[in-house]
């Protein structure tokens, strides 16, 4: 056997092959077959420069780490700014090129009408009433569709019974329900809430069902052989497993709820932001049309955002790692 030159750290290792320490650097010497050549140990931590813990050092690293987000925000702000600028240019100059901006209000006019609107209680009341309708319709849809989806996913028989009805009703747009809804419900308010309910019901139901179909069967087995009863399996496995998909359904459902609500309000409302927007057109208050539209957009965005926040709060395990 050849001479063995082991470095101290490897002393305990019972390795039979001849050992050498790699010596003078520079030239690569071929390693003899069956020999193990150890490289001198290096302090990996020493290779990394000590971090600059001063305020400027931290600020610089923060900028570097968040550069992408900052860029996205700046670009977003720039795009919105350009959009408003273009809107200003085409409306102030009353441009027409097949599309006519003759009567379209300018950003300044809309801002002015927003000032007037917010100074009176009537506009805020429209917003309040729309939000209340959304809240009731959407909450009812969630309260009915989520449990129904969970049960249909768990019990095949129930699914086979209910699913065909749901599939027939689902393609009917909520707006097409307006006349029927007015006949069905004693008050106008109830019929509008019902239409909002219908709009969000199906996306929530379908997403919950889809989530149930994708629950990992091995997790169910794991729970069962740890002594989980049927009820406990439902609570501890199926329910948390479908939660992310349920929130996808809620987000989509919220979007459709707004679409349905505004349509219903435009046709049969007396209050609400959809009614406000349509009335503005009838009364030739053109800046109010844009104000109504922007308000609807902002409310829709805000409600989706709230659902996303809630979704993240109740599914902490799926948060970014």
């Amino acid at each position: 056997m050849n001479s063995i030159a082991m470095k101290p750290a490897a002393k305990s290792a019972p390795i039979a092959a001849p050992f050498h320490l790699a010596g003078d650097g520079g030239v690569h010497r071929p390693v003899a077959p069956g020999h193990i050549v150890l490289r001198p140990e290096r302090d990996a931590l020493a290779a990394v420069a000590a971090p600059d813990r001063s305020f400027t050092g931290r600020a610089r690293r923060w900028l570097k780490l968040n550069a992408h987000t900052i860029r996205a925000m700046l670009l977003g702000a720039l795009a919105i700014g350009l959009f408003i600028l273009a809107w200003h240019v085409v409306t102030v100059n009353r441009m027409t090129f097949y599309v006519r901006f003759l009567n379209v209000p300018s950003p300044e006019q809309v801002l002015e009408s927003a000032r007037t609107a917010f100074s009176t209680g009537a506009f805020l009341n429209h917003i309040y009433i729309s939000c209340r309708r959304i809240f009731i319709g959407f909450a009812l849809a969630a309260v009915v569709a989520v449990p129904l989806g969970l049960l249909m996913g768990r019990f095949q028989l129930l699914k086979e019974f209910v699913f065909p009805v749901s599939e027939v009703l689902r393609p009917i747009p909520a707006i097409a329900w307006v006349p029927m809804s007015i006949m069905l419900w004693p008050t106008n308010e109830e019929s509008i809430v019902f239409i909002t309910f219908l709009g969000s019901f199906f996306p929530i139901l379908l997403n919950t069902l889809h989530g149930m179909a994708n629950v990992d069967e091995v997790l169910v087995r794991a729970a069962r052989c740890l002594g989980a009863t049927e009820r406990a399996t439902f609570r501890e496995v199926y329910f948390p497993a479908v939660l992310p998909q349920v929130f996808t359904g809620l987000t989509v459902g919220m979007g459709v709820a707004w679409v349905s609500l505004i349509a219903a309000e435009m046709i049969s409302g007396q209050f609400g932001i959809g009614y406000f927007t349509w009335e503005a057109y009838s009364l030739v208050q053109y800046p109010d049309i844009a104000l109504g539209m922007i308000t609807i957009g902002v409310l829709g965005l805000a409600s989706s955002f709230l659902i996303r926040i809630a979704g993240r709060a109740v599914t902490p395990w799926s948060r970014a790692k």
């Binding site: 729970a223 069962r224 002594g227």
Partner: protein, 291 residues
């Protein structure tokens, strides 16, 4: 504490006899497992090896209570298996930790199902995680852990309720070779401490020899028991044992048995002669040109 430090356990006798499993198709019944029987004595470590699709996991799942045989008897301590229960702990290849529960909540799960109080089961879970060297990770969600750590949690979770038998379905199949060797060592140590009966399914011959008291070899589908081997190696075992002549001999013997079945399982006309024929002499040409 659910787990006794020493092993008085003379429970955990698994008996499977005349086990048949078939399922119906349009072309008639397909037999998955035919006339299999096996025994795991109390405190014994038994492995089942065989080619993929031979029904070894099916047998294990039947002992766990996830499926019922078409005919035959599965008992644990002479009690027929009727469905899954916390008496039979199971460890899965895909870890199957609950992603929405932290490491500690995963380990607590069986105790929670049994109705143990919150603080009591937290203490128990912490002790177990300490034994597994996972204390620092008790509040992590599983997806932050490496495969080896996940499976340590999986094993600890299955043991937390103090089951009579532990069933493992290729538990180290998804781990890299080095981690796998360490996990085998951890499992042997745990098993020796607990004196629990273990039924272990694997397709890794070395793993089966290293871990087991006895090994059942299964045939290709329809699967049945082809051979039974008592491993003659002394305990405690360590990695160096894999170089001993007994180990090498046993590995060669089992390897030959399984190779035969694997070729059958792969189907077609694949046999030793056909394999030789596959060694096409290309003479430097591209395979596409030759074909």
């Amino acid at each position: 504490m659910a787990i006794p430090a020493t092993a008085p356990a003379r429970t955990g006798l698994i008996e499977v006899s005349d086990f048949n499993l078939a399922y119906d198709t349009l072309d008639g019944a397909v037999i998955a497992v035919s006339d299999a029987d096996l025994v795991v004595n109390p405190g014994e470590f038994v492995s089942i090896i065989g080619p993929s699709g031979c029904g070894k996991s099916t047998l294990l799942n039947a002992v766990a209570g996830f499926l019922k045989p078409t005919s035959g008897i599965v008992t644990v301590d002479k009690e027929p298996v009727k469905g899954p229960s916390a008496d039979r702990g199971m460890v899965f290849q895909q870890y199957s930790l609950f992603p929405w529960k932290t490491v500690r909540e995963n380990v607590e799960f069986g105790l929670k199902m049994r109705g143990m109080g919150k603080s009591e089961r937290a203490v128990a879970a912490r002790t177990l995680l300490g034994l597994a060297g996972l204390s620092a990770f008790e509040d992590h969600y599983p997806d932050r852990l490496s495969g080896g750590m996940k499976q340590r949690v999986g094993i600890v979770r299955a043991l937390a309720t103090g089951p009579k038998v532990l069933l493992l379905d290729e538990p180290f199949g998804a781990l890299d070779a080095q981690t796998r060797v360490i996990m085998q060592q951890i499992l042997t140590n745990l098993w020796q401490r607990l004196g629990i009966s273990v039924l272990f399914v694997t397709h890794d011959i070395d793993e089966a020899i290293f871990l087991s008291d006895r090994i059942y070899v299964m045939t290709a589908r329809p699967g049945t028991i082809k051979a039974e081997v008592t491993v003659p190696l002394p305990r405690p075992r360590d990695a160096a044992l894999q170089l001993s002549p007994e180990f090498v001999q046993l590995r060669a013997d089992l390897g030959a048995l399984i190779r035969e079945e694997s070729l059958k399982a792969m189907g077609g006309e694949l046999n030793e002669d056909a394999l030789k024929g596959l060694a096409v002499n290309l003479n430097g040409a591209n395979l596409a040109e030759v074909v």
